[in-house]
Amino acid sequence: MATAVTDILPYPPPRQREENTAWLGMVIFLGSWAMLFAGLFFAYGAVRIGVHRWPPPGLPRLPRLLPAVNTAVIALSSVALQMGYARLRERSSARLVATAFALGAIFLALQGLLWVQVWKSGLVPQAGPYPSVFWGLTAFHALHAFVGVVALGVLARRIARGIYSPARHLAVRLWAMYWHFVGVVWLVLFATVFAF
């Protein structure tokens, strides 16, 4: 039924096309997931706007120093990953991505330390909305950070072993986007939950 028409068209090479398509998919996914976090922050804002004092009287404040250090750690991790992505064809790339992975792991470890500290200070999840916000938001964020750290570990191993390929370029590019997203969410989290 089809009239004879041609498949040959002045398109960019398929590899580049596929990469652009994957990039678009990732952008849409992150946009969507940003809405999920926006919903969580909205809930936090709405709860907080309804009370006069935050933290509510009788509850200790959340620590600030450890989260501030952690903000620096995850920011450095993002920078290292971006540098590793920029020089993916060079040998130094493997070390940079490995550094990003290590910093991500340190972030998670410090996060664990923070949880222990907060739990011991009496801010258990059941103690009211103030600790609820802390536990809910940091736990959900840490889940995303964990996924990112595992991915960075796998990528670092692969880069250390093998040579450059377009498929790897795409993988690093997309995971870097994801990792920056996790970092930005943490930044907002730090600013709203801990700093102010």
Partner: protein
């Protein structure tokens, strides 16, 4: 350099029939999953209708099948879980998979001339994630203390661990979260596919309106389903780990925790959701009315613009669900204004549908009947929506059966009838066989007559002051006189339910033994009908080169040159210059 390369079809059983990445096969999987849950949700509806007609009396047939413990009676403990599960199942696990999962998957690649979705593996994962959510939903029926029972809106504090203890509610909220993830996976695929995988010459202005509807729905899905996800997530934390986001008592003790926050999150999602369910239906209606009136769709750009406008407006009207929550009057007025504004683009679409049919040579085939029925019930639903949009009127009608009648006409009846139009229309392409048209018409007329009667009865009951969700409305003396009305509504509902068995029979028999369908039984020119029925694994041997818009019907010049009243989007008119649009498209990449 193909647009998408041709992959050979998989040979292993698992990759072919279970974990298939073929969009046409996934569409069928979604269709079956959705239809089975549609039957389940419909059965629950019959139980609700029985309860409102004869509260406290043993239910025939169902009683002896499912309610043996209570002697066939719907108990007060069971009743809330029936209407809760009915709502959740119908919205998330029946209409969504049929309208978006099945038709989105089937039509988008075929209509834009792609060989598959942009991310076939993600597509497969989307279906299997969806199936997990359905399994969670079914599991909720079998746990201690029964299934979810806080209403489909799952408002806390009713949905908190104090209001509805037990795993039933928890599993249902989990199911909503998981199905949301599946929807987002699908949405990412739909948006990307339409942007990246259109055949050469398939400009945005040549997209069939079905694809426009699906694409806009996917955008709304991707943006707003995660907001419901965030609400569900916090609710799960409250239920499982004792956090206090939504527990009202907490505000007195430690400050904070507010059940209203959930309502905000729910409706920020919930209002776009009603357009998520109707936009694909609108797109399908625009196309089908044109196809069966043998005329171009009237004011194509207006229809697209109206759908885009509705998509944008739908994001800023959610407050009209919360007029009675103590919202500031000024805010209420703002939401009211935006809500009423939505009727303008909706009206544009409605007039376009009527204009498309006007002076057309209408073919009253089964899909056309269903589409015209959709126009009618959607009109009714839309008009009753105006009552609820106005604050002063809503204060009286809020939480009455009027609301139930309204959203059933728009979300349930219109989406259902458009789904049926789609099933009768694309069945030949999906399965390579025809549904029986006579049975289809019987199915249509029974549905067409009884749908307005059932939901009209609800509107009347609500206007007379009957609250929704009452276990036994006649405990209130002022509602006693409504029992005959409710009984008649229930009789109509039972007839409507029984009429669906005609469809079940027709569908199952036709899938396996229906008459073989030709490649283009409806004689229309969109790219999906440029393939064999059913299409091969890669859809198009040669990706078509699109020449024109989707509704080139009834053109005298075409009739003169080709001897028929339609021309395919892929076809060149004798003597017409071709290939004009290809370089333009390539620039975009």
């Amino acid at each position: 350099m193909d647009i998408q390369p041709i992959h050979p079809p998989p040979t292993s059983f698992w990759r072919r029939y279970v974990f298939s990445t073929d969009h046409k096969y996934i569409a069928k999987q979604f269709l079956w999953a959705g239809l089975i849950f549609l039957a389940l949700g419909g059965s629950l509806a019959m139980m609700i209708r029985w309860q409102w007609a004869y509260p406290g009396q043993p239910m025939p047939i169902y009683g002896s099948l499912f309610l043996r413990k209570s002697g066939g009676i719907i108990t007060p403990a069971l009743y809330p879980s029936i209407f809760t599960m009915h709502g959740l199942i119908m919205i998330f696990f029946a209409i969504t998979p049929i309208l978006i999962g099945a038709f989105g998957n089937l039509t988008i690649p075929l209509m834009i001339g792609a060989r598959d979705m942009a991310f076939p593996t993600l597509n497969m994962l989307s279906f299997w994630t969806f199936l997990v959510s359905q399994a969670l939903m079914i599991a909720a029926f079998f746990v201690k203390m029964g299934a979810a029972s806080a209403g489909w809106t799952t408002y806390p504090p009713l949905s908190d661990s104090i209001g509805t203890p037990g795993w039933g509610q928890t599993l249902a909220v989990m199911a909503i979260f998981v199905t949301g993830v599946a929807t987002i996976m699908g949405g990412i695929n739909y948006i990307t596919t339409v942007i990246r995988c259109r055949a050469p010459g398939m400009t945005w202005g040549r997209l069939p309106l079905t694809v426009w509807g699906m694409w806009l729905t996917a955008i709304l899905n991707v943006l707003f389903v995660p907001v419901l996800g965030s609400g569900g997530l916090l609710l799960l934390l409250d239920r499982l780990f004792g956090t206090q986001f939504f527990i009202a008592g907490a505000s007195a003790v430690n400050g904070g925790g507010d059940p209203l926050v959930f309502q905000h999150l729910f409706w920020i999602f919930g209002h776009p959701e009603v357009y998520i369910l109707i936009l694909p239906a609108w797109g399908i209606m625009c196309d089908l009315l044109s196809f069966f009136s043998r005329k171009p769709s009237y004011f194509y750009k207006g229809s697209v613009g109206a759908m885009v406008a509705v998509t944008l407006l739908s994001a800023i009207v959610y407050g009209h669900h919360m007029y009675v929550t103590g919202m500031a009057p000024l805010l209420g007025k703002g939401f009211m204004t935006f809500t009423v504004m939505i009727s303008v683009p909706a009206e544009v679409l409605f007039l376009n549908w009527l204009q498309t049919m006007w002076k057309g040579s209408i073919r009253l085939e089964t899909p056309m009947l269903w589409t015209m029925g959709t126009v009618f019930v959607f009109g009714l639903g839309g008009l009753t929506g105006l009552f609820l949009a106005i604050v002063s009127m809503d204060l009286y009608l809020h939480d009455t059966m009027f609301v139930v009648g309204h959203f059933h006409l728009t979300m349930a009846a219109a989406s259902f009838m458009a789904s049926m139009a789609g099933i009768y229309f694309w069945f030949p392409k999906m399965f390579g066989r025809q549904l029986n048209q006579t049975l289809g018409k019987i199915h249509f007329w029974f549905s067409m007559i009884f749908i307005p009667l059932v939901f009209g009865g609800q509107l009347l009951a609500g206007y007379s002051g009957q609250q929704r969700r009452l276990f036994d409305p006649y405990q209130y003396t002022f509602l006693r006189h409504l029992q005959p009305l409710n009984q008649w509504t229930s009789y109509f509902a039972f007839i409507l339910g029984a009429a669906q068995l005609v469809f079940v029979y027709n569908f199952v028999v036709s899938v396996f033994a229906g008459k073989k369908a030709s490649d283009n039984p409806w004689e229309v020119g969109t790219l999906d009908w440029d393939t064999p029925s059913p299409p091969p694994y890669h859809n198009f041997d040669v990706v078509p080169h699109v020449q024109r818009g989707p509704h080139e019907l009834g053109d005298p010049a075409v009739k003169k040159a080709l001897g028929r009243d339609w021309i395919g989007q892929w076809e060149e008119m004798p003597g017409e210059k071709s290939g004009q649009a290809a370089p333009k498209l390539a620039e975009a990449h």
